[in-house]
Protein backbone atom coordinates (compact mmCIF):
# COMPACT_ATOMS: atom_id res chain seq x y z
CA UNK A 1 0.00 0.00 0.00
CA UNK A 2 1.40 3.39 -0.98
CA UNK A 3 1.59 6.05 1.76
CA UNK A 4 2.13 9.75 1.18
CA UNK A 5 4.44 11.90 3.27
CA UNK A 6 3.07 15.01 4.91
CA UNK A 7 4.29 18.47 3.83
CA UNK A 8 6.17 18.94 7.10
CA UNK A 9 7.92 15.61 6.66
CA UNK A 10 8.92 16.58 3.14
CA UNK A 11 10.19 19.92 4.42
CA UNK A 12 12.28 18.15 7.09
CA UNK A 13 13.72 15.80 4.47
CA UNK A 14 14.53 18.74 2.22
CA UNK A 15 16.29 20.52 5.08
CA UNK A 16 18.25 17.36 5.90
CA UNK A 17 19.27 17.05 2.26
CA UNK A 18 20.42 20.66 2.31
CA UNK A 19 22.82 19.96 5.14
CA UNK A 20 26.17 19.14 3.63
CA UNK A 21 27.87 15.80 4.15
CA UNK A 22 31.26 16.78 5.56
CA UNK A 23 32.74 13.27 5.49
CA UNK A 24 36.36 13.40 4.44
CA UNK A 25 36.85 17.00 5.56
CA UNK A 26 38.29 18.30 8.83
CA UNK A 27 35.00 20.06 9.62
CA UNK A 28 32.02 18.97 11.72
CA UNK A 29 28.60 20.49 11.13
CA UNK A 30 27.05 22.44 14.03
CA UNK A 31 24.10 24.36 12.60
CA UNK A 32 22.87 26.46 9.74
CA UNK A 33 23.47 30.21 9.90
CA UNK A 34 21.68 31.39 6.81
CA UNK A 35 20.78 30.89 3.21
CA UNK A 36 22.03 33.03 0.36
CA UNK A 37 21.18 33.14 -3.30
CA UNK A 38 23.42 30.31 -4.37
CA UNK A 39 24.57 28.76 -1.16
CA UNK A 40 23.92 28.08 2.48
CA UNK A 41 26.17 29.23 5.29
CA UNK A 42 26.81 26.81 8.17
CA UNK A 43 28.56 27.00 11.49
CA UNK A 44 31.13 24.20 11.56
CA UNK A 45 33.86 23.04 13.92
CA UNK A 46 37.37 23.02 12.50
CA UNK A 47 38.68 19.87 14.22
CA UNK A 48 42.32 20.55 13.30
CA UNK A 49 42.47 24.03 14.81
CA UNK A 50 39.69 23.47 17.38
CA UNK A 51 37.67 26.53 16.51
CA UNK A 52 34.33 27.39 15.00
CA UNK A 53 34.28 28.78 11.49
CA UNK A 54 31.64 29.50 8.86
CA UNK A 55 31.27 27.29 5.79
CA UNK A 56 29.57 28.44 2.63
CA UNK A 57 28.35 25.54 0.50
CA UNK A 58 26.72 25.56 -2.91
CA UNK A 59 23.10 24.55 -2.57
CA UNK A 60 21.81 25.07 -6.12
CA UNK A 61 21.43 22.33 -8.65
CA UNK A 62 24.38 23.01 -10.87
CA UNK A 63 24.36 20.86 -13.96
CA UNK A 64 26.93 22.79 -15.97
CA UNK A 65 29.17 23.90 -13.08
CA UNK A 66 28.48 27.62 -13.56
CA UNK A 67 27.39 28.24 -9.98
CA UNK A 68 30.19 26.11 -8.54
CA UNK A 69 32.68 28.15 -10.52
CA UNK A 70 31.07 31.32 -9.23
CA UNK A 71 31.31 30.19 -5.59
CA UNK A 72 34.99 29.30 -5.93
CA UNK A 73 35.59 32.55 -7.76
CA UNK A 74 33.97 34.42 -4.87
CA UNK A 75 36.28 32.59 -2.43
CA UNK A 76 39.34 33.51 -4.49
CA UNK A 77 38.29 37.16 -4.70
CA UNK A 78 37.74 37.44 -0.93
CA UNK A 79 41.02 35.62 -0.28
CA UNK A 80 42.81 38.36 -2.22
CA UNK A 81 41.18 41.07 -0.14
CA UNK A 82 43.09 40.90 3.12
CA UNK A 83 41.63 43.79 5.06
CA UNK A 84 40.25 44.17 8.60
CA UNK A 85 36.91 45.19 7.09
CA UNK A 86 36.55 42.12 4.88
CA UNK A 87 35.80 38.68 6.32
CA UNK A 88 38.84 36.44 5.68
CA UNK A 89 38.67 33.13 3.79
CA UNK A 90 40.68 30.29 5.38
CA UNK A 91 40.12 27.32 3.12
CA UNK A 92 38.17 25.96 0.15
CA UNK A 93 37.50 22.55 -1.40
CA UNK A 94 34.98 20.03 -2.65
CA UNK A 95 32.59 17.93 -0.57
CA UNK A 96 32.23 14.20 -1.15
CA UNK A 97 29.11 14.89 -3.26
CA UNK A 98 31.12 17.22 -5.50
CA UNK A 99 29.71 20.49 -4.18
CA UNK A 100 32.26 23.24 -3.64
CA UNK A 101 32.63 25.03 -0.31
CA UNK A 102 34.79 27.61 1.32
CA UNK A 103 35.61 28.33 4.93
CA UNK A 104 35.65 31.82 6.38
CA UNK A 105 35.90 33.48 9.75
CA UNK A 106 32.77 33.05 11.86
CA UNK A 107 31.52 36.57 12.48
CA UNK A 108 29.35 36.72 15.57
CA UNK A 109 27.83 40.15 15.29
CA UNK A 110 24.74 41.92 14.11
CA UNK A 111 23.67 43.00 10.67
CA UNK A 112 23.98 46.74 10.21
CA UNK A 113 20.23 47.41 10.22
CA UNK A 114 19.88 45.59 13.55
CA UNK A 115 22.99 47.20 15.03
CA UNK A 116 22.07 50.81 14.20
CA UNK A 117 18.74 50.50 15.97
CA UNK A 118 20.84 50.80 19.17
CA UNK A 119 23.07 53.59 17.81
CA UNK A 120 21.29 56.90 18.15
CA UNK A 121 24.06 59.40 17.48
CA UNK A 122 24.51 60.32 13.83
CA UNK A 123 28.25 60.77 14.37
CA UNK A 124 28.58 57.15 15.60
CA UNK A 125 26.64 55.92 12.59
CA UNK A 126 28.86 57.92 10.26
CA UNK A 127 31.97 56.40 11.84
CA UNK A 128 30.58 52.96 10.99
CA UNK A 129 29.91 54.23 7.46
CA UNK A 130 33.53 55.34 7.12
CA UNK A 131 34.71 51.85 8.09
CA UNK A 132 32.51 50.39 5.34
CA UNK A 133 34.00 52.89 2.89
CA UNK A 134 37.51 51.82 3.98
CA UNK A 135 36.84 48.20 3.09
CA UNK A 136 35.15 49.02 -0.23
CA UNK A 137 37.89 51.48 -1.21
CA UNK A 138 40.44 48.77 -0.48
CA UNK A 139 38.57 46.31 -2.70
CA UNK A 140 38.43 48.92 -5.48
CA UNK A 141 42.16 49.45 -5.14
CA UNK A 142 42.52 45.72 -5.76
CA UNK A 143 40.27 45.95 -8.81
CA UNK A 144 37.18 44.37 -7.20
CA UNK A 145 33.64 45.77 -7.25
CA UNK A 146 31.19 44.52 -4.62
CA UNK A 147 27.96 45.30 -6.55
CA UNK A 148 25.62 44.33 -3.71
CA UNK A 149 26.37 46.78 -0.92
CA UNK A 150 23.44 47.14 1.48
CA UNK A 151 22.93 47.17 5.26
CA UNK A 152 22.18 43.44 5.22
CA UNK A 153 25.65 42.74 3.85
CA UNK A 154 27.47 44.60 6.60
CA UNK A 155 28.13 42.99 9.97
CA UNK A 156 29.14 44.81 13.13
CA UNK A 157 31.01 42.62 15.58
CA UNK A 158 30.82 42.68 19.38
CA UNK A 159 33.94 44.84 19.61
CA UNK A 160 32.68 47.33 17.03
CA UNK A 161 34.51 45.76 14.11
CA UNK A 162 32.76 46.42 10.80
CA UNK A 163 32.87 43.73 8.13
CA UNK A 164 31.63 43.91 4.56
CA UNK A 165 30.16 40.50 3.72
CA UNK A 166 28.71 38.58 0.82
CA UNK A 167 30.98 39.17 -2.10
CA UNK A 168 28.93 36.72 -4.19
CA UNK A 169 28.11 39.33 -6.81
CA UNK A 170 31.56 40.89 -6.79
CA UNK A 171 33.36 41.44 -10.01
CA UNK A 172 37.03 41.70 -10.83
CA UNK A 173 37.48 44.54 -13.27
CA UNK A 174 41.24 44.91 -13.11
CA UNK A 175 43.93 42.58 -11.82
CA UNK A 176 45.97 44.53 -9.31
CA UNK A 177 49.23 43.79 -7.58
CA UNK A 178 49.57 44.11 -3.81
CA UNK A 179 50.81 47.69 -3.85
CA UNK A 180 49.11 49.16 -6.87
CA UNK A 181 46.08 51.37 -6.61
CA UNK A 182 43.45 51.63 -9.31
CA UNK A 183 42.58 54.95 -10.84
CA UNK A 184 38.96 55.56 -11.84
CA UNK A 185 39.80 55.23 -15.50
CA UNK A 186 41.35 51.81 -14.93
CA UNK A 187 38.27 50.54 -13.20
CA UNK A 188 35.78 52.14 -15.50
CA UNK A 189 35.44 49.73 -18.40
CA UNK A 190 34.01 46.33 -17.64
CA UNK A 191 36.59 43.67 -18.23
CA UNK A 192 35.64 41.89 -21.47
CA UNK A 193 37.15 38.67 -20.14
CA UNK A 194 34.68 38.60 -17.28
CA UNK A 195 32.01 36.26 -18.59
CA UNK A 196 30.48 35.40 -15.24
CA UNK A 197 28.10 38.32 -15.32
CA UNK A 198 27.15 38.95 -18.87
CA UNK A 199 26.15 42.39 -20.09
CA UNK A 200 22.41 42.78 -19.62
CA UNK A 201 22.19 40.58 -16.53
CA UNK A 202 20.70 42.38 -13.52
CA UNK A 203 22.23 41.40 -10.19
CA UNK A 204 21.93 43.34 -6.95
CA UNK A 205 19.33 44.67 -4.52
CA UNK A 206 16.68 47.21 -5.58
CA UNK A 207 16.94 50.43 -3.63
CA UNK A 208 20.66 50.02 -3.19
CA UNK A 209 21.51 49.35 -6.84
CA UNK A 210 22.84 52.09 -9.10
CA UNK A 211 20.55 52.97 -12.05
CA UNK A 212 23.06 51.64 -14.59
CA UNK A 213 23.19 48.36 -12.64
CA UNK A 214 19.39 48.16 -12.65
CA UNK A 215 19.40 48.62 -16.43
CA UNK A 216 21.92 45.82 -16.78
CA UNK A 217 24.58 48.10 -18.22
CA UNK A 218 28.23 47.58 -17.47
CA UNK A 219 29.20 49.09 -14.11
CA UNK A 220 32.31 50.48 -12.51
CA UNK A 221 33.25 51.57 -8.99
CA UNK A 222 30.73 54.40 -9.16
CA UNK A 223 27.97 51.79 -8.84
CA UNK A 224 29.39 50.95 -5.40
CA UNK A 225 29.55 54.69 -4.65
CA UNK A 226 25.79 54.84 -5.37
CA UNK A 227 25.13 51.89 -3.04
CA UNK A 228 27.20 53.54 -0.33
CA UNK A 229 25.11 56.68 -0.80
CA UNK A 230 22.00 54.54 -0.26
CA UNK A 231 23.57 53.11 2.92
CA UNK A 232 24.35 56.67 4.04
CA UNK A 233 20.68 57.54 3.49
CA UNK A 234 19.66 54.47 5.48
CA UNK A 235 21.97 55.45 8.34
CA UNK A 236 20.77 59.04 8.52
CA UNK A 237 17.06 58.45 7.94
CA UNK A 238 16.29 58.12 11.67
CA UNK A 239 18.01 61.36 12.57
CA UNK A 240 15.55 64.12 13.43
CA UNK A 241 17.20 66.63 11.13
CA UNK A 242 19.89 65.71 8.65
CA UNK A 243 22.32 68.59 8.15
CA UNK A 244 22.24 70.10 4.66
CA UNK A 245 25.90 69.36 4.02
CA UNK A 246 25.34 65.66 4.70
CA UNK A 247 22.26 65.62 2.50
CA UNK A 248 24.37 67.17 -0.28
CA UNK A 249 26.96 64.43 0.16
CA UNK A 250 24.29 61.74 -0.03
CA UNK A 251 22.70 63.29 -3.13
CA UNK A 252 26.08 63.54 -4.85
CA UNK A 253 26.79 59.87 -4.09
CA UNK A 254 23.37 58.85 -5.43
CA UNK A 255 23.31 60.97 -8.58
CA UNK A 256 21.40 59.28 -11.40
CA UNK A 257 24.21 59.88 -13.85
CA UNK A 258 27.36 58.14 -12.67
CA UNK A 259 29.52 60.93 -14.09
CA UNK A 260 27.90 63.34 -11.61
CA UNK A 261 28.68 61.15 -8.61
CA UNK A 262 31.81 61.02 -6.50
CA UNK A 263 34.23 59.30 -8.81
CA UNK A 264 35.82 57.25 -6.04
CA UNK A 265 34.80 55.91 -2.64
CA UNK A 266 37.77 57.76 -1.21
CA UNK A 267 36.28 61.10 -2.30
CA UNK A 268 32.96 60.21 -0.67
CA UNK A 269 34.68 59.06 2.54
CA UNK A 270 36.77 62.22 2.65
CA UNK A 271 33.67 64.40 2.55
CA UNK A 272 31.94 62.36 5.27
CA UNK A 273 35.10 62.54 7.41
CA UNK A 274 35.23 66.30 6.85
CA UNK A 275 31.60 66.58 7.88
CA UNK A 276 32.35 64.62 11.07
CA UNK A 277 35.32 66.87 11.85
CA UNK A 278 33.25 70.01 11.41
CA UNK A 279 35.02 70.94 8.18
CA UNK A 280 33.35 72.05 4.93
CA UNK A 281 32.50 69.33 2.39
CA UNK A 282 33.38 69.62 -1.29
CA UNK A 283 29.80 69.39 -2.58
CA UNK A 284 28.18 72.00 -0.34
CA UNK A 285 29.45 75.56 -0.79
CA UNK A 286 29.27 77.62 2.38
CA UNK A 287 29.19 81.38 2.95
CA UNK A 288 31.77 83.15 5.13
CA UNK A 289 29.34 83.41 8.05
CA UNK A 290 28.72 79.66 8.16
CA UNK A 291 32.47 79.04 7.88
CA UNK A 292 33.18 81.45 10.71
CA UNK A 293 30.49 79.81 12.85
CA UNK A 294 31.96 76.37 12.12
CA UNK A 295 35.44 77.59 13.06
CA UNK A 296 34.14 79.02 16.33
CA UNK A 297 32.31 75.81 17.20
CA UNK A 298 35.41 73.76 16.44
CA UNK A 299 37.67 75.95 18.58
CA UNK A 300 35.10 76.94 21.18
CA UNK A 301 37.04 75.82 24.27
CA UNK A 302 40.14 77.89 23.79
CA UNK A 303 38.11 80.80 22.41
CA UNK A 304 36.07 80.74 25.63
CA UNK A 305 39.27 80.62 27.68
CA UNK A 306 40.69 83.57 25.78
CA UNK A 307 37.41 85.43 26.23
CA UNK A 308 37.50 84.71 29.98
CA UNK A 309 41.02 86.14 30.08
CA UNK A 310 40.02 89.30 28.19
CA UNK A 311 36.94 89.76 30.41
CA UNK A 312 39.03 89.28 33.57
CA UNK A 313 41.53 91.83 32.27
CA UNK A 314 38.78 94.30 31.37
CA UNK A 315 37.11 93.93 34.78
CA UNK A 316 40.42 94.52 36.54
CA UNK A 317 41.05 97.64 34.45
CA UNK A 318 37.64 99.20 35.00
CA UNK A 319 37.28 98.23 38.66
CA UNK A 320 40.89 98.76 39.72
CA UNK A 321 41.44 100.34 43.15
CA UNK A 322 41.66 104.13 42.87
Amino acid sequence: MMRFLSDSAIERLREAADFPDLTGTRYELIDKLGQGGMGGVFRVQDTALDRQVAMKVMSLVDSDGTWSARLLREARIIAKLEHPGIVPVHDSGLLSDGRPYYIMKLVQGKRLEEHVSNVAALSDRLRIFLRICDAVAFAHARGVLHRDLKPGNVMVGPFGEVLVMDWGLSKVVAEKTENSVSQPSELSPANPRDRTTAHGTVLGTPGFMAPEQTRGDSVDQRADVYSLGAILQFLSVDSSSVPRALTAVRKQAMAEDSSHRYQTVLNLATDVAHFLDGLPVSVYPEGPLIRAGRWIVRNRVWILLLLAYVIARALLIFFRPR
Binding site: W302, L305, L306, A308, Y309, R313, L316
Partner: protein, 121 residues
Protein backbone atom coordinates in the same frame (compact mmCIF):
# COMPACT_ATOMS: atom_id res chain seq x y z
CA UNK B 1 54.99 72.53 15.81
CA UNK B 2 56.83 71.30 18.91
CA UNK B 3 54.65 71.70 22.01
CA UNK B 4 57.34 73.61 23.92
CA UNK B 5 57.73 76.02 20.97
CA UNK B 6 53.94 76.43 20.78
CA UNK B 7 53.85 77.19 24.50
CA UNK B 8 56.74 79.64 24.13
CA UNK B 9 55.03 81.56 21.30
CA UNK B 10 51.59 81.60 22.93
CA UNK B 11 53.01 82.49 26.36
CA UNK B 12 55.04 85.29 24.76
CA UNK B 13 52.06 86.74 22.86
CA UNK B 14 49.78 86.62 25.92
CA UNK B 15 52.59 88.07 28.02
CA UNK B 16 52.90 91.05 25.66
CA UNK B 17 49.16 91.70 25.86
CA UNK B 18 49.27 91.23 29.62
CA UNK B 19 51.95 93.89 29.88
CA UNK B 20 50.22 96.26 27.47
CA UNK B 21 47.11 96.23 29.64
CA UNK B 22 49.13 98.29 32.16
CA UNK B 23 48.60 101.23 29.78
CA UNK B 24 45.08 101.52 31.20
CA UNK B 25 46.62 102.36 34.57
CA UNK B 26 47.84 105.98 34.16
CA UNK B 27 50.35 105.70 37.02
CA UNK B 28 52.06 102.75 35.30
CA UNK B 29 52.33 104.34 31.83
CA UNK B 30 55.82 105.81 32.25
CA UNK B 31 57.14 102.31 33.02
CA UNK B 32 55.15 100.45 30.35
CA UNK B 33 58.22 99.25 28.43
CA UNK B 34 59.69 97.55 31.48
CA UNK B 35 56.31 96.10 32.42
CA UNK B 36 55.77 94.68 28.91
CA UNK B 37 59.27 93.19 28.85
CA UNK B 38 58.87 91.65 32.29
CA UNK B 39 55.43 90.31 31.45
CA UNK B 40 56.70 88.86 28.17
CA UNK B 41 59.59 87.08 29.87
CA UNK B 42 57.13 85.70 32.44
CA UNK B 43 54.87 84.47 29.61
CA UNK B 44 57.82 82.89 27.78
CA UNK B 45 59.01 81.05 30.88
CA UNK B 46 55.48 79.84 31.69
CA UNK B 47 54.89 78.85 28.04
CA UNK B 48 58.04 76.78 27.65
CA UNK B 49 57.52 75.03 31.01
CA UNK B 50 53.89 74.20 30.24
CA UNK B 51 54.75 73.15 26.67
CA UNK B 52 57.52 70.87 27.90
CA UNK B 53 55.12 69.35 30.43
CA UNK B 54 52.56 68.76 27.64
CA UNK B 55 55.23 66.94 25.65
CA UNK B 56 55.94 64.64 28.58
CA UNK B 57 52.43 64.18 29.98
CA UNK B 58 49.51 63.53 27.65
CA UNK B 59 46.55 64.55 29.81
CA UNK B 60 44.24 67.50 29.21
CA UNK B 61 43.25 67.76 32.88
CA UNK B 62 46.83 67.55 34.20
CA UNK B 63 48.00 69.98 31.50
CA UNK B 64 45.40 72.56 32.53
CA UNK B 65 46.15 72.10 36.24
CA UNK B 66 49.90 72.36 35.64
CA UNK B 67 49.41 75.45 33.44
CA UNK B 68 47.23 77.11 36.05
CA UNK B 69 49.78 76.30 38.77
CA UNK B 70 52.77 77.63 36.81
CA UNK B 71 50.83 80.76 35.81
CA UNK B 72 49.82 81.44 39.42
CA UNK B 73 53.30 80.82 40.86
CA UNK B 74 55.05 83.09 38.35
CA UNK B 75 52.37 85.77 38.77
CA UNK B 76 52.76 85.49 42.55
CA UNK B 77 56.52 86.01 42.21
CA UNK B 78 55.95 89.09 40.03
CA UNK B 79 53.40 90.51 42.49
CA UNK B 80 55.70 89.87 45.45
CA UNK B 81 58.47 91.78 43.67
CA UNK B 82 56.29 94.88 43.28
CA UNK B 83 57.77 97.86 45.12
CA UNK B 84 55.65 99.65 47.69
CA UNK B 85 53.10 98.48 50.22
CA UNK B 86 50.48 97.34 47.64
CA UNK B 87 51.43 94.19 45.77
CA UNK B 88 48.22 93.80 43.71
CA UNK B 89 48.26 90.01 44.19
CA UNK B 90 44.70 89.53 42.93
CA UNK B 91 45.09 91.88 39.93
CA UNK B 92 48.31 90.18 38.81
CA UNK B 93 47.60 86.55 39.73
CA UNK B 94 44.12 86.30 38.18
CA UNK B 95 45.20 87.04 34.58
CA UNK B 96 48.50 85.22 35.16
CA UNK B 97 46.65 82.07 36.19
CA UNK B 98 44.31 82.38 33.20
CA UNK B 99 47.29 82.69 30.83
CA UNK B 100 48.75 79.50 32.28
CA UNK B 101 45.40 77.76 31.96
CA UNK B 102 45.03 78.76 28.30
CA UNK B 103 48.59 77.71 27.43
CA UNK B 104 48.06 74.43 29.30
CA UNK B 105 44.93 73.68 27.29
CA UNK B 106 46.35 74.69 23.91
CA UNK B 107 49.62 72.77 24.33
CA UNK B 108 47.73 69.62 25.29
CA UNK B 109 45.37 69.86 22.33
CA UNK B 110 47.75 71.10 19.67
CA UNK B 111 51.43 70.84 18.80
CA UNK B 112 53.64 67.87 18.01
CA UNK B 113 54.30 65.40 20.78
CA UNK B 114 57.17 62.89 20.94
CA UNK B 115 57.39 60.61 17.88
CA UNK B 116 56.56 56.97 18.56
CA UNK B 117 58.86 54.26 17.23
CA UNK B 118 57.37 52.12 14.45
CA UNK B 119 56.71 48.53 15.48
CA UNK B 120 58.89 45.87 13.90
CA UNK B 121 58.06 42.25 13.38
Amino acid sequence: MHKALLGLILGGILGVFDGLSAWFTPAARPEILGIVMGSTVKGLIAGVLIGYFARKVNSLALGIIFGLGVGLILAYAVAAMQPGPNHYYFEIMLPGGLVGLIVGYVTQRYGRGPQSQPATQ
